[in-house]
Amino acid sequence: MTHYILRRVLTSVVLMIIISMITFGVFFMVPKLAGTNPAELYVGKQATPADVAATARKLGLDQPVTVQYARFVKGLVAGRDFDDGPNKTHCAAPCFGYSFRNDRPVWPLLLDRLPVTISLAVGAAVIWLIGGVLAGVISALRRGGALDRTVMVLALAGVSLPIYFTGLLAQLVFVHQLHWLPGGEYVNLWDDPAGWAGKLFLGWVTLALLYAATYARLTRAQMLETVSEDYVRTARAKGLRERTVIGKHVMRSVLTPIVTIFGLDIGSLLGGAILTESVFGLPGIGRLSIDAVNTKDLPVVLGVTLFGALFIVLANFVVDLLYAVIDPRVRLA
């Protein structure tokens, strides 16, 4: 077990290194290939070629990529120093570099935005998990009936709806026309819980809609499969109440793959968050990334990408461990 964990940590680290290398290469090399110099993005609109060169030198962009990458990695693990002009600032590890745009270290920027994304993700996850699993269970229990068909077609509709459409539509109806929900800016949970929930509500629901559908379908399929398992028949043969049979024996098996998928989905939620946040104007990591992309703020883009990848890799890892915990048959070797 321990050496499994160790090995997994190691593979995860290797994976992250490769991802960072690719990402780094892509973001710093592709512009170059496309004939643009990242330094030009950094300098002002009136800068002369000399200024561009000076900036490139300052940012280390004149160095070979390998050197730049090494520096970047050093920043991640040991922090690095940045030239402010009169003095140097130390950017403590993990240092993803300084934003081109506002000269602030990327890492605190990410941390700053994280609560919003987490608020969004957690709320949505709760809704979709409960809603999806419930719908799936009901549908499976009423298999073949009208309710089952309706739920499943609705589920398909759910996966088919683009977030940016549902989100806008919901906003148009509930915020602008019915005025049921407040518009306004995102507020922190601890500042104004009601406002926080009100602002996030539509985001939760739209994001949850996308996933709930998948979970409903998965739960239903899993349920149907499990219900016909021999061990469920055994449970019945023992004289267990139907409630216990479904609630304990069936659900135990149904939830195992759900937990797995859930972990992976949470890990890759950033993608959905990007769209949701930009539709609902939530200042989270997703918005940050879009803004960074739009302003060509490469260090931020790089930071967010790596951060997202880290999330996914971590989620994978956790899921594997979790799987071993919930499924006694899996032996980590």
């Binding site: 643009t36 683009p162 990007i274 996914i312």
Partner: protein, 326 residues
């Protein structure tokens, strides 16, 4: 207990009877059986018909447009109210009229109907090609990993993990936005990115299927008569992989349509004036309070298309593999 064994004796019976009569000629292939099953699934058939219609619409866009629309980029300034920033006059349902079946686009007054049907062309082109790419890579990688196993499998599996670990949308927009945004190039890049990131889904499934197929005795029996790996892969494995691949391709297409639309929505899709549903939608964001139809029409187009593909793919899956309920 499954329905599996029920059909087996029934068919056996058929064989027996036929052999008695001595007129057994053509067997029913699994494909035919699936087709019979699919035909019974009305929802899936509706999806399938819609998909076919869509493809037809995309292919015949110029003809259809001639009949019902206006030239795709023709401006109709008279249909909009320039003082309100070019939205169609308030209260006209986005300018819907007999002349403009789906209304007009704000600012330019372009015919939304033609934008939608040409948009279908763009969406489907990108989604289909990207899916094709994904399927091609997925098959090659999945089959090699599953069939040859060993270090190749480890390598490819890790590789798939790697691709899946990329925050896809972000990576895509970042990458696309640093590349020159000319039309052909954009489309190519989008196809490569969408296909290049969705193949691991196919790859994993193909690998899994290959792994289980490889254990089936018919592969061993093929080997025992001296078949080469090449023959085993092409003659024994691929025909059996066709069904899952087909199913997952039809299920990946809607995802890819959504993805293309999302990229366009985020402003890194096909460059204007090439019509694109995602871009129409993102364009609509600024007008949606006063011209909700403009948002509604492309939104519904995306929704219905994706839904149709999903319904069809879902039905196809049930038909091809009645036991896998998911």
């Amino acid at each position: 207990m499954t329905v599996g064994p029920v059909t087996a004796p029934a068919e056996t019976q058929a064989v027996e009877e036929a052999s008695v009569a001595g007129t057994a000629i053509e067997g029913r292939s699994l494909g035919r059986i699936a087709w019979t099953r699919l035909k019974r699934d009305r929802v899936a058939m509706a999806g399938g018909v819609t998909v076919l219609l869509l493809i037809l619409v995309a292919v015949l866009a110029p003809l259809i447009n001639k009949a019902f629309g206006h030239p795709v980029n023709e401006y109709h300034q008279d249909k909009i109210d320039p003082n309100l920033g070019g939205i169609p006059p308030v209260g006209t349902w986005g300018g819907i009229s007999r002349e403009f079946l789906l209304g007009v686009q704000p600012v330019t007054g372009r015919d939304l109907f033609s934008q939608i049907i040409y948009g279908a062309q763009t969406s489907l082109l990108i989604a289909f090609t990207a899916t094709l790419l994904a399927v091609a890579i997925g098959i090659v990688v999945g089959v090699s990993a599953g069939f040859f196993g060993g270090w190749l499998d480890s390598l490819f599996s890790r590789f798939m993990d790697l691709v899946l670990a990329f925050p896809l949308i972000l990576f895509a927009i970042a990458l696309i936005s640093v590349l020159p945004p000319t039309k052909g190039f954009r489309i190519a890049v989008m196809i490569i990115i969408i296909g290049g990131f969705s193949w691991p889904y196919i790859g994993r499934i193909v690998r899994g299927q290959t792994l289980s197929l490889r254990e089936r005795e018919f592969v061993e029996s093929a080997r025992s008569i001296g078949s080469s790996n090449f023959r085993i892969i092409f003659k024994e494995l691929l025909p059996n992989l066709a069904a899952p691949i087909l199913v997952y391709s039809t299920l990946i297409i809607p995802t890819n349509i959504l993805f293309e639309a999302a990229l366009s929505f985020l402003g890194v899709g096909v460059p204007p004036p090439t019509p694109s549903w995602g871009r129409l939608l993102s364009d609509a964001v600024q007008f949606y309070e006063y011209d909700p139809m403009y948002m509604f029409v492309p939104g519904m187009a995306i929704f219905l298309t994706v839904l149709a593909f999903n319904l069809f793919g879902d039905g196809l899956r049930d038909a091809l593999d009645p036991r896998a309920n998911r």
